[in-house]
Symmetry: C2
Subunit: 323 residues, 2 copies
Amino acid sequence: MRVLIIGGGGFIGQKIAKALAEKGTLNGKQITHLELADITAPPTVVAPFGVSHHAVDISDKAKCDALFQCQPDVVFHLAAIVSGQAEAEFDTGMRVNLAGTLNVFEAARALGTKPVVVFSSSCAVYGGEIPDQIEDWTTLNPQTSYGAQKAIGELLCTDYSRKGFIDGRAPRLPTITIRPGKPNAAASSFMSSIFREPLQGQTAVCPVQPDYAVWYLSPRKVVENLIKCAEIPAEKFGENRAFALPGRVATIGEMVEAMRKVAGDEPVNRIKWEPDPVILSIVMGWRPHINPQKALALGLTTDDSFEDNVRYFLEDDIQVPAT
Amino acid sequence: MRVLIIGGGGFIGQKIAKALAEKGTLNGKQITHLELADITAPPTVVAPFGVSHHAVDISDKAKCDALFQCQPDVVFHLAAIVSGQAEAEFDTGMRVNLAGTLNVFEAARALGTKPVVVFSSSCAVYGGEIPDQIEDWTTLNPQTSYGAQKAIGELLCTDYSRKGFIDGRAPRLPTITIRPGKPNAAASSFMSSIFREPLQGQTAVCPVQPDYAVWYLSPRKVVENLIKCAEIPAEKFGENRAFALPGRVATIGEMVEAMRKVAGDEPVNRIKWEPDPVILSIVMGWRPHINPQKALALGLTTDDSFEDNVRYFLEDDIQVPAT
Ligand SMILES: NC(=O)c1ccc[n+]([C@@H]2O[C@H](COP(=O)([O-])OP(=O)(O)OC[C@H]3O[C@@H](n4cnc5c(N)ncnc54)[C@H](O)[C@@H]3O)[C@@H](O)[C@H]2O)c1
Ligand SMILES: NC(=O)c1ccc[n+]([C@@H]2O[C@H](COP(=O)([O-])OP(=O)(O)OC[C@H]3O[C@@H](n4cnc5c(N)ncnc54)[C@H](O)[C@@H]3O)[C@@H](O)[C@H]2O)c1
């Protein structure tokens, strides 16, 4: 069993790599080799199997084809230009998120072995002219270029699977919080930084009002769910390979109160509330009320409370001890 | 006002060209020039304005860019590899329907004038895991590559419009019947030929059962609606540029009885009923129960009865007098 993680240097890619290294198997089969690919060669992980590192820009078709000479049985395709950057740099987003994803699916198809491909879509595909309550059959009318490019990736994932070219799975990720490390170019970056920075003793700016509602999932749960997505038998996905992952809905204000319960008043007092019109223009188009029936039926799961997300961060990811 | 019709040699393209030649104006403005483009130079139309003819493969980006040197104010993008062929030749469909459509949108964007682009999507975008009754907010889970490629074109049309690159409109066409001429590679080809051939004195094969239900529209009405789509003010389309055109639902059996009412028993007796598994595998995935609320609110309309469709064919398109 050879596993390839594209975007393997990223936040979720590194966490999946570590989880696979601990688990040693995927879908009941021994992992013999892990290939980590990213735009620059990703950091390695300590593992009971061989680990290779590839610097590959997936928007370069020839390089993407060459990467697949490693003949993966399972591919996690996580590489993406995130929402804020894809909105600011339209052509970059199209090149990586659309053409790059097509290159990945084509390279996987060319193997002729119908590899499992887990494509990380996003709840940013929702928006626009839809009812408030989102069901598995609600249309995708994204109001960002990132969302449009992810929705296109989903359609390709389902069609390539229907044709028998790949065995694709396209879970729509909720906002993952609390994300470790530094703020990034995702418009949702604040949904981690207003917890992470205060828990690490720094101040952070919240660009939305406390009543802004978020559809979220913890890093632990997203890794667990993405690995499960690679293990579920193909036939269980039916005619649509894309579906919302389970998540929870809470307002930013409720999440802040959850942090207070776990970590006290001090971190909460480090949040400054300063509405930001650019971020608002993107995130106000997202929708938090999602009913992930299909994913629940597939056995995928969510967090129990945002208190847990705060605890997971303190256990797994905190980098500077809170003062 | 310069108008460009891509796919201008096709069935609908030629009919739009003739309708514009008769009308002389579009959106209240004098048409000064009509550009007809297709894979081979399209037949001309007699018109009160200049008509140019272009042989352009839209999947060739440089040629597609060069075509747009004609600086159109309004573009009808009708060029496509139809359903049956796109299913049999996956790569051809991807090249023309996906890459070609992207080339058209990019060339329109490069003008910098935000031209109106009417992109003919299709009700083949519907299918898969959706409720029987289709609303404007029902998801697109197409079960053909043609449908997937059209759904991707819609997402691009909406996003390019949202970004202000083009002023796109992406109506989903019902099955257009009764289509004149010869059978084509569309899986829906029989939905015209079982009426057209008998009305022209020939036999025809019906590959589905009489209870198969179709979402249909006449050639006259689709031309009228597509022209209206170019004339409706941009702001009326809201956040989604894609929507179902109005149509009617009837079973093949009911449509055959309508033909009997207009043209007697003889044509009906020329239909042979022979189920075809390949065609069934495609068309059984389509959905006929569509509620086109948005299109109706935009002032788009449908036929009054299939009897009218038969009459329109006899008035506009019949090529060999029925015996
Ligand atoms: N974290 C979230 O909240 C969230 C939510 C929804 C969806 N997602 C999706 O999950 C995936 C992983 O997210 P993440 O949070 O780990 O993001 P991340 O930015 O940490 O990781 C993405 C990785 O993709 C790489 N990449 C970008 N362009 C590339 C290219 N051209 N070639 C090769 N690699 C390239 C980046 O270098 C980065 O390491 C992404 O597809 C993202 O869109 C994440
Ligand atoms: N007629 C229907 O029932 C129906 C239903 C739904 C959607 N549509 C859509 O409406 C549009 C017009 O349909 P039609 O019935 O007139 O089809 P048609 O096949 O008669 O016309 C399509 C035209 O596109 C041209 N074309 C194909 N590839 C091309 C390329 N690479 N470059 C340039 N031109 C190319 C063809 O030569 C043809 O003339 C199509 O986009 C079709 O998908 C039609």
